[in-house]
C-alpha cells in the first residue's frame, strides 16, 4: 500500500461522517457529526484540511449549493464519497478487522 492510499484515522472519521450525512454533508454538519460521534473536540481547520486532502486523492468530490441568507448569502459546499472513497474505506475496515481477529481474549487478559 503506497503512502497516498493509506487512510489515516481522522480521514476515516471524516469519510464515514460524509457517508452518514448523505446529501447533507457540508463543513458544519461534518464537523458536528465527528464531534458528536467521536465525542471529542475537533479543530474545524483539521476537518477542512482532511476534506481538501481527500478531494485531492479523488476519494470525495464536492458541489456548491445555492446561497442562503442564514449564512450571510454564502453557498454551502456539499461533499459526496466517490467510489474510490468507498473502496478505500472498505480496505481500511478489512485491514483492521483482520488485525482484530483473535485479539479479544488477549485484550481481556490485560
Amino acid at each position: 500500500m503506497s503512502r497516498s492510499d493509506y487512510l489515516g484515522e481522522f480521514e476515516q472519521m471524516v469519510l464515514l461522517s460524509v457517508l452518514r450525512l448523505g446529501e447533507n454533508a457540508y463543513g458544519v454538519t461534518v464537523h458536528e457529526e465527528i464531534r458528536r460521534t467521536a465525542g471529542r473536540e475537533v479543530r474545524r481547520g483539521a476537518v477542512y484540511v482532511a476534506l481538501e486532502r481527500l478531494q485531492a486523492k479523488g476519494l470525495v468530490s464536492s458541489t456548491f449549493g445555492s446561497p442562503s441568507t442564514e449564512r450571510g448569502g454564502r453557498a454551502k459546499r456539499f461533499y459526496t464519497v466517490e467510489a474510490s472513497g468507498r473502496a478505500a474505506l472498505r480496505a481500511s475496515r478489512d485491514a483492521l478487522m483482520n488485525l482484530w481477529n483473535g485479539v479479544e481474549p488477549e485484550l481481556e487478559k490485560l
Binding site: 463543513g27 458544519v28 479543530r43 477542512y48 481538501e52 478531494q55 450571510g72 454564502r74 454551502k76
Partner: protein, 887 residues
Amino acid sequence: MRAATWLIGRLVGTPAAQAIVGDLVESAGGHGSLWRSSEAWRVVFSLMSYQLRRSGQEDQGAPGPLRPRPGMPEHSGSSALQDVRFALRIFRRRPVSTAVAILSLALGIGANTAIFSLLDGILLRPLPVPRPEELVTTATVFSFPDYEDLRDASTDELTGLAAWSASSRPYSLATDNGAWPALTELTTGNFFDLLEFRPAAGRFLTLDDESRRLPVAVLSHRLWQSAFYGDPLVIGSDVRVNGLPATIIGVAPPGFRGTRVNRSVDLWMPLSLHAQLAPGSFGRLRLDSRETQWLRVMGRLRPNTGLAQAEASMLAAATRLLEQQPSPYLEDFESLRTATQAAIPREEEVRGFLTLMIAMVAVALLVACTNVANVLLTRTTERRREIGLRMVLGASRGRLVRQLFIESLLLSLAGGVAALFFARWTLASVHLLQIPGRIVLGDVPTSINATTLAFTMAVAFACSLLFGVGPALAGTRPDPARMINGSAPRRGNWNAPVTLATIQVGLTLALVFSGGLFLRSLSTVLEVPLGFDPTDVYVASVDIGVVGYDNDSAATFRREALAGLESLPTIERAAWGVFVPVQGGMRMESFRVVGHELQEEEPGDVALNYVSDGFFEALRVPLLAGRAFAATDREGTAPVTIVNEALADIFFPSGDTVGARLIMPGPAGILEMEIIGVAGNTKRRDLREESSPYLYLPLAQWNWLVGTDRMKIAVRATPGAADTIDSMRQRLAQIDPALPITELRTLDDQLFDQAMPQRVGATLLGMFGALALVLAAVGVYGVVAAAMLSRVREIGIRRAVGANDPDVLRLVLRRGLLPVVLGLPLGWFLAFAVARLIAGFLPGLSPTDPTTFVAATVLVFVASAVACLPPALRAARRDPVTALRSD
C-alpha cells in the same frame, strides 16, 4: 476579518473560501459579526500548514517548480498561489536566513509599534474630545470670583470657560455593596458642555445642577465597568460620596480620565458642593473669597480664533479686571496653552523621553532592515543560477519579478504578524514602568496602533522589495548563460553587503552605547547617598482631617497611634512627619539667625518639616551634633529646632551651631527657638537634587498649625518582618476604623520609582542594544559568508599556488572586518550625537562617559569579530581541490 477570508481564498480558491466562511457564520448562529476571528484564523493556519506540507512533499518528487503536476487540486491553478507555495518552499530551504529575516523584522516592527502606541496614548490623545486643539487652559490657578470675572470678560474669544478643582486624594464612593476610592474633579456646570462629547450613559452635569447645588455625580467609564459592571441601571441610583448622599446621573465616555494623563479621575461632581465634600483644610476654601486661588480653568476657543489672539485678548481682559477689582493673583496670569499640552505633566521632559525612545526604536528598525536587506542580497546572489535557468526555460521577467515580489511580501507579512505578538508582549511587560512626569505606563490606555503597524510593515516591505527584487531584477538583464555558469557578477565600486554591514555596526554601537549610559546612570543613581536608611521602613499617609478631628483630638490620636504601633513586636520605632524624605512635598517659612545680618547670597526662607520625636531614629537620619527631639519638647516648654548640615554650613561655618538661636513667625508673633541638634542632609524629593537648608520642628510644639493636616507615619520594622503592612493597617484601624490610610508601602518601593527613568531607559535600550548586537553580528557573518562563496575559486587557486592557512584566514578576515573597521568610527559619531540627546536623563554622568564608550566599542568589536570566525575558518580549512572543482 476580511484578511482571513482573503487568505482562505488564496489557499483553497474563492468559492471554497466563501463556503468555509459561510460555515463559520452559520455555526455562530447567523450573526456575521459574531463568529470569532480567532476561529477563522485557526482555519487559515490549518490550511496554510497543510499547503506547506504539500509543497514539501512535492519537493521530494522532482525539480521544476513551475511545472504543473498531476494530483494538484483543480483550484490551485491560480498562479499567485503557486508563487506563494514556491516562496514558502524557498523559505523552507533556507530556514536560518529566513528566520533571521523574519525575526529581525518582528523585533524592529514590534518595538516601533509598541513605542508608537504608547506615544499615541500619552502625547497624541490625552483628551478624547472633539477638536481638542480648541481647548485651552493656563497654568495659573484662580479664585472663584476671579474665574467668574474672567469667564464673563472672555466671551468674545471663548465659547465658554469652565473651572474645576481636582481632589489630590481619592474620595470614597460608597454603595450598599462596598466602597471605592475615586479621584474626583469638582467642576462648574459648563465643564462637560465644553468637552462636547456624549455621555456613555445618562447625562452630564449642567449649570442647573451647579446653581441648585444638587448632589449629583458623573462616573468614569472605568469605574462604571469595574464597580458596577457597566450596569445601565446605575443611573439614578443612590451612593454616598465622602459620606454625602448623592445620585449617579451619568457615565463619561470610555477613555476620558480627566484633565491630566498621569491621574485617572473617576468621579465628577458640581463645584458648588465643594464645602460639603472636600475634606480637611481644603474644604474650608471659600467660593466667594478672592484670597485663595485653587481653581483650574479651561475654555474652548471660538472657531477661527488663534491661540495667540485669544491669549492677547484674555490678557487684556485680565488687565481690565485688575483695574476694576484688584486681585493679587490675576497679576501673574500665565500664557494660554492648549489643554492637550497641559494634560501632560512636565510635558517637555515626557516629550523628550518619548522622542528619544522613538529615535532608538527607529534605529533598531534600521538595523533590522539592513539585516533583511543583507539576507535578501545574499540570497539573490545565490539564486542567480536558478533565475537564469528559469529564464532559459521561458519564464518571463514579469513572472520572475512577481515571484520575488511575493517572497518579499510574505516575508514582511510574517514579520508583521510576529511583530504584533512582540508589541503586545512589550506593552504588557512595561506596564509597571513609569516615565518622567510620573506617568505610569500601565495607566495609559494603549491599543496596538494599527497605523503604526501598517506603516512599519510598509517600511519593511519597501526595504525587502528594494533589496530583494531590485538586485534580482538587475540580475535578469545580463545573459543567463553567465548566470547559470555561476560566475560572480562584475565587481562594481560599490559593495552593498559591506556598506550595509558598516551601517549596521555603526548603528549598533550607538544603541549599545546609549543603553550602557542608562545602565551606568542607573547604578550611579542607586549609589547616591540618601542621608537616611530606607530599608525596612514603611510609610503610610494618614488623612485625619477627613473624619472630623480637631487639633486636640488629632494630637491624642497621633500619640495613641505611635504607642499602638510600637507595641507590635515587629516594629522598632514609629514616628510622624508632615513629610518623609524622597516622598516630596514641602513648606517654606522665612527665618533669621539671631544676631546675624542676612547676607545677600544667604537664603531668608527655609524648607521645613514638623516631626514627632523618634523621627530621626525611625529613618536613621544621623545626628551630627546635639540631640534629637525628646518627649519633653512639647507645648509649653522652650521652643527648639534641629537644622540640617547644609543650613549649618551656610550660617555656622565655625561649627557653633548647637545653642544658636533662630526666629520665625509663631503663634503669637515672632518665635525664638534654640537649635538643639544638627542632622545629616537627606534627599527631599529627587535623588538628583543638591542638598539645601532644612529645618525640623517638633510636632508637639506646632500642633496649633498642622493639627489636622495630612501626615505621614513612618515605621522601622525589624529586619525580615513579614506582614508589616497588614499589621500596621489593623493596628491603626483598632484606634479609628473610619480613618483612611493611603499609600502604605515601603520606602524602598518609593526609591524604585525614583530611579524609574533610568530603569526604563536601561531596560528598553538594553533590550534594543542586545537585539541590535545580535542582528549586527548576523549581518557581519552574512558578509563574510557571502564573500567566501563568491571567492571559493580564488581561494582555491591561491592555495594551489602555495598560500597557507594563516594567509587565507587573513584574507578572509580582512574582508570580514572591513565593515567593523569602517562601522566603528561611524558608531562613535552617532553615539556622540545620541549622547547629547539623552544627557538630560542622566544625572551625575557625563554623556561621553569614557568607561561606557570603551566598553561599548569593545563589545561591538568582539561580537563582530567572533561572527567573522566561523566562515573564515571554514574557508581556510577547505581542501583546495574541492574548492576549485566547486563550479
